[in-house]
């Protein structure tokens, strides 16, 4: 059986099971209980968003909705209040779309060129630059928040769309550059040398040789950035300003606004709506997402 060699990293390597033993049952029981723990909050979130408040009061959070309704989804989308404004989540959704659509390509293109330059066009101090950039991946954002507020307001970009895009680009750079540098470093150097011999320059090699080869890694980077930027809270809160408030910030404001009894139906509907985009990306992308995780988890 072991003569069938599968590529490393795909085949489980743990001790081989002999029969259906007590250990085996224990393993499945453990996994199933864990799966339940992970799934329950999502189920509760969706079920609660479909129940009326009277039903929530009457039953418990694990009960199925008796008269499922999407009224609260509509309310959360278009008329839930944050402070005095009652436009729902919709403006936040479109702001998040704007921020994501602008930040993702900008940050990826720059990181791609960085990674390319760092792996093939070594120059004096390039190792040091890379080390500092990596250090940037570890620095808590809060340490840099004030200097960036100050810098951006000096040039009049604080609280604007370009401002938040710049912030996302800068903070995405360490991890994305690392991702692309590691990818380009794994390509054979001969490829680069051959192109050099043929007389191709920096940009020619980049566009004709490297770009077509980096499609898979770019997909990983896109997934990483879309979920990362969509889920961002603190940058949106600090840098986006009232006009460009992303969905996560608006979600939090809607939930904080509720006075008296907390209206969980609307809150959970808003939560489901905000989580829908990254969840769809996650379920559609599957293994790609997992590949990006080891690199992307630093973003937190």
């Amino acid at each position: 059986m072991s003569s069938v060699s599968l590529p490393a990293g795909i085949e489980p390597s743990g001790p081989r099971p002999r029969h259906v033993t007590a250990t085996r049952i224990g393993i499945y029981a453990f996994l199933l209980i864990a799966a339940l723990f992970f799934l329950i909050p999502l189920i509760v979130m969706i079920m609660t968003s479909m129940k009326s408040m009277s039903e929530i009061r009457g039953g418990n959070i694990f009960a199925l909705p008796m008269q499922p309704t999407l009224d609260y989804w509509v309310k959360a989308w278009s008329s839930a209040c944050t402070g005095r404004d009652c436009y729902g989540l919709a403006p936040g959704f479109f702001n998040s779309v704007k921020i994501t659509v602008l930040s993702v390509p900008v940050s990826i293109v720059i990181a791609m060129i960085n990674g390319y330059a760092l792996s093939f066009w070594r120059f004096r101090g390039s190792e040091l630059m890379f080390a500092i950039l990596l250090f940037g991946a570890f620095v808590p954002f809060q340490v840099l928040v004030y200097p960036i507020i100050f810098g951006l307001s000096r040039v009049g970009l604080f609280g604007t769309l370009p401002g938040i895009v710049i912030v996302h680009t800068i903070f995405g750079m360490p991890i994305l550059t690392l991702l692309f540098r590691n990818f380009f470093a794994s390509l054979p150097v001969e490829l680069f040398k051959a192109a050099r011999v043929d007389g191709a320059g920096f940009w020619r090699i980049f566009f004709s040789v490297m770009l077509p080869m980096s499609v898979p890694i770019t997909i990983v980077a896109v997934i990483l950035q879309v979920t990362g930027i969509w889920n961002d809270f603190i940058f949106g809160l600090v840098f986006a300003g009232r006009e460009n408030m992303p969905m996560t910030v608006q979600l939090n404001n809607i939930v904080r606004t509720s006075t008296g009894t907390v209206e969980y139906s609307t809150n959970m509907a808003a939560t489901v709506l905000t989580g829908a985009v990254p969840l769809i990306v996650y379920f559609v992308s599957g293994k790609w997402f997992v590949r990006g995780i080891a690199a992307g988890a630093v973003k937190g």
């Binding site: 864990a34 630059m129 809270f233 630093v298």
Partner: protein, 278 residues
Amino acid sequence: MMIVAIGVFVIGITFTVVLSFTNSKLFPSFNFVGWRQYEILWSTPRWVQSVTNIWFYGFGHIVLCMGVGFALAVAMDQRIRGEDAFRTIFLYPFALSAVITGLVWQLMLDPIWGFQAFVRSLGFADFTFAPLANGETALIGMIVASVWNGVGVTMAILLAGLRGIDEEIWKAARVDGIPAWRTYVSIVVPMMRGAVATALVLLVVNVVRTFDIVIAMTGGGPGIATQMPATYVIDNINSRNVGHGMAAATCMLAPIAVLIIIQAVFRWRASRRGRTTS
């Protein structure tokens, strides 16, 4: 552009550290006051509480993520059926923002609507599990939520490490009659220390910046029971006490600096070992 980013990191950190020695309010001033801000900082109860909180929260979060993550990874590595389905389930919370995590778990742990009410409705009238309602236990609730969000990543990294172990190791251990748990503890874990280190570094980095989940779940309360250094820094910037906030931010940098030095030492030792053996 790379230079701009590096410039932002280097200049930004320098700026933060310099300002921490001034009495800046809303705008930066260069009125140096020495260590005054740090003295005030460490005698402010809310800051001291924040630091205590992050130690407790960080310890709980990291130990649980590593423990549960490793247990899940080992279980996933037993040639089980439906591995992809389990992996998808364990990892999806990570795709959700910490704000969403915080809000969902706030409902789950709500004493009137959540888990406690459910168990009580089953007839256990004295059952109590509503950590967020009480200042002494609120952090536990937050740990539960953050582990739910993050343990999948630890599991994925450790699983990749387990898969990197040569099958022959297992055969050899079995021939020698070593029990499986012993093989894990004494052979496999030391062999995958790279994956363990990666998972650990990621957890530490994420703990230090903990912010979103606090805001969404408790807003720092009850009282100041779940305040964190990150919320302290942001609040001080908002309340126009920048010099003080920057002193707090500089203190947040310290554990990261320690981490990087440890990592550099390890890399240096590894490279030296590589040279002597070759």
